[in-house]
């Protein structure tokens, strides 16, 4: 299977990630409630949703750091639930992750952070590793920071360094957790540009979890909207653009998505939030 995957990595029709009927509860609360998603080879899939909608939890299931109560995730046709630690680890070498904070190892320099996966998972000699580190850092425009410690660089640089580390082993899939959260507009646009470069020049499949709509529309091939643990809509970017630029549809779900991507203050999301249980709450207090 893996041999075949590598040979035709630009085959757009091939599904590399398949999420099937995923259910996950934390302390009795259903964070994911029957989520289905397919990501095809080479595309950039953006998963959107408000805070606490379960998108980070979904991402953690896709990278095998959480396991579902029901359903399963398939990466390259392999069901993560059924893999032992060793096979899961060898699968992990085929994808990279950019964590929200960059998650650099604080005790190592930027260069050592990028070198670590190469040192641990390849038999390359030290000179080759040094060259590889410079290449990866150059790709994210951070070669000058090789010898700096993570505490000495800015948030945007940390993310770029984290990205350099994530691509160290030339992964086939890259996962991004909120890549532009907490960055200024220019830095955020730079990160988006990097994501697009990696995806289009190297043919990497990208899965991006975000709630920054500018960034989402810049980079997405297809988009998915997650709300309260349910997948509301999956479709090409153009469908979401039409929804964003068009009038209200009258359909509750579509209007909810429309409000989210437009960032409107009035709509189904805010109405749901403000009306639910208010009278009961007030009357309950009065009775006490």
């Amino acid at each position: 299977m893996s041999q075949k995957d590598t040979s035709d990595r630009f085959n757009q029709d091939q599904t590399v990630i398949r999420v099937v009927n995923l259910v996950k509860s934390f302390g009795g609360r259903r964070v994911l409630d029957g989520v289905n998603l397919e990501v095809r080879r080479g595309e950039t899939m953006v998963i959107m949703g408000g805070s606490g909608c379960g998108k980070s939890t979904l991402l953690r299931h896709m990278i095998g750091s959480l396991f579902p109560d029901e359903g399963y995730v398939e990466l390259f046709g392999q069901n993560l639930n059924e893999l032992d630690d060793k096979s899961l680890d060898s699968l992990r070498l085929r994808f990279g992750i950019l964590f929200q904070s960059g998650a650099l190892y604080n005790s190592m320099t930027v260069g050592e952070n990028v070198a670590l996966p190469l040192r641990e998972h390849t038999n390359l000699d030290e000179d080759t590793i040094q060259i590889m580190v410079k290449i990866k850092l150059e790709q994210v425009g951070l070669r000058y920071a090789e010898n700096l410690m993570p505490s000495e660089i800015s948030g945007g640089m940390k993310k770029r360094a984290g990205l350099a580390r994530a691509i160290a082993l030339d992964p086939e899939i890259l996962f991004y957790d909120e890549p532009s959260a907490g960055l200024d507009p220019v830095t955020s646009a730079e990160i988006d540009q990097l994501i697009m470069d990696l995806s289009r020049k190297l043919g990497v499949t990208s899965v991006v979890v975000t709630h920054e709509m500018d960034s989402a529309f810049r980079i997405a091939d297809r988009m998915a909207m997650l709300d309260a643990g349910k997948m509301l809509k999956i479709g090409p970017r153009s469908e979401f653009e039409a929804l964003r630029d068009g009038p209200e549809t009258g359909d509750e779900q579509l209007d909810l998505i429309r409000q989210f991507i437009r960032g409107d203050s009035d709509g189904p999301i805010t109405r749901r939030r403000s009306s639910a249980g208010f009278m009961e709450d007030v009357l309950g207090v009065a009775e006490d």
């Binding site: 060898s90 992750i97 964590f99 904070s101 998650a103 190892y105 670590l116 641990e120 998972h121 984290g162």
Partner: protein, 270 residues
């Protein structure tokens, strides 16, 4: 806590405490078995061997000074407290014998362990806890790097080895404290033959039993520190809690282990 008592009654609270205790010990046992399983793999990797040396420096070398300071004072205190009751019996020179046994069997290892639990245990817990908060542990796992091999094994091995070395130093510091006090405070004649009497009294098993304890304490402290660090949740507050609990549980663990091993040594006349 008082809230829990009101809601659930005494039996449930005791039950919950027992269950928590069992699950805590179970978690540590799992971590220990993971550690044992990955130790050989760790030794095969040059980077991990370097990590062990770094940790030995951090745990051991940097705490030599404080261990020496504490233990010399213990020697001084013991000598000054033993002298008055021994005097009427004309046995003041037996201080060397008593300090030898007490220091090498128990005080050396146990007090070194207490110092190390504060010095190294707390910092290990804070370090690993901070890494959990900063998603570094998750990043390690996601890059197919086992945090146990990468972080836990070097720290446990280093603490184990350095506890033994530090205890050897500590034992001699207690003895030295006793000698200097005998010489300078009591009377020079008490100190004559001090080292000879100590050597006469001490048997190999006194020294060895103390070093076995030291090794066990080293494992307990680092295991608790790593376990507390890895289970940190919820930011800076969680890290602070892990640090405190490491020191508290370590000291409890040290005393419990000291008691268990003393019983074993007693039964087997070791």
């Amino acid at each position: 806590m008082s809230d829990t008592v009101k809601k659930h009654g005494l039996i449930e609270v005791i039950g919950a405490a027992v269950l928590n205790g069992i699950s805590y010990i179970g978690g540590m046992a799992l971590l220990l078995s993971d550690t044992v399983k990955t130790t050989i793999e760790t030794f095969k990797r040059p980077s991990s061997r370097r990590a062990i040396v770094m940790q030995m420096h951090r745990v051991g070398v940097r705490s030599v000074g404080i261990v020496c300071l504490v233990q010399i004072f213990i020697g001084v205190i013991l000598t000054l407290q033993l002298a008055p009751p021994l005097k009427p019996w004309g046995q003041v020179d037996k201080i060397a014998n008593i300090i030898g046994v007490a220091g090498f069997r128990m005080l050396g290892p146990i007090l070194t362990a207490v110092v190390i639990s504060g010095f190294a245990g707390a910092s290990i817990a804070a370090e690993i806890g901070t890494m959990v908060v900063a998603e570094e542990i998750e990043a390690l796992r996601a890059s197919a790097l086992n945090p146990v091999r990468f972080l836990v094994v070097p720290r446990i091995l280093a603490t184990f080895v350095m506890m033994i070395f530090l205890t050897i130093i500590a034992d001699w510091m207690i003895a030295l404290g006793g000698y200097l006090t005998s010489l300078l405070v009591l009377a020079p004649k008490v100190s004559i033959g001090y080292w000879g009497r100590m050597q006469e009294q001490l048997r190999m098993r006194d020294v060895v039993s103390g070093l076995i304890l030291a090794g066990v304490f080293g494992i307990i402290i680092s295991l608790i520190a790593c376990h507390e660090g890895l289970k940190v949740r919820g930011g800076a507050e969680g890290v602070g809690r892990a640090t405190t609990m490491t020191v508290v549980y370590s000291i409890v663990g040290i005393v419990v282990m000291a008691c268990i091993f003393t019983m074993i040594f007693y039964v087997f006349n070791f």
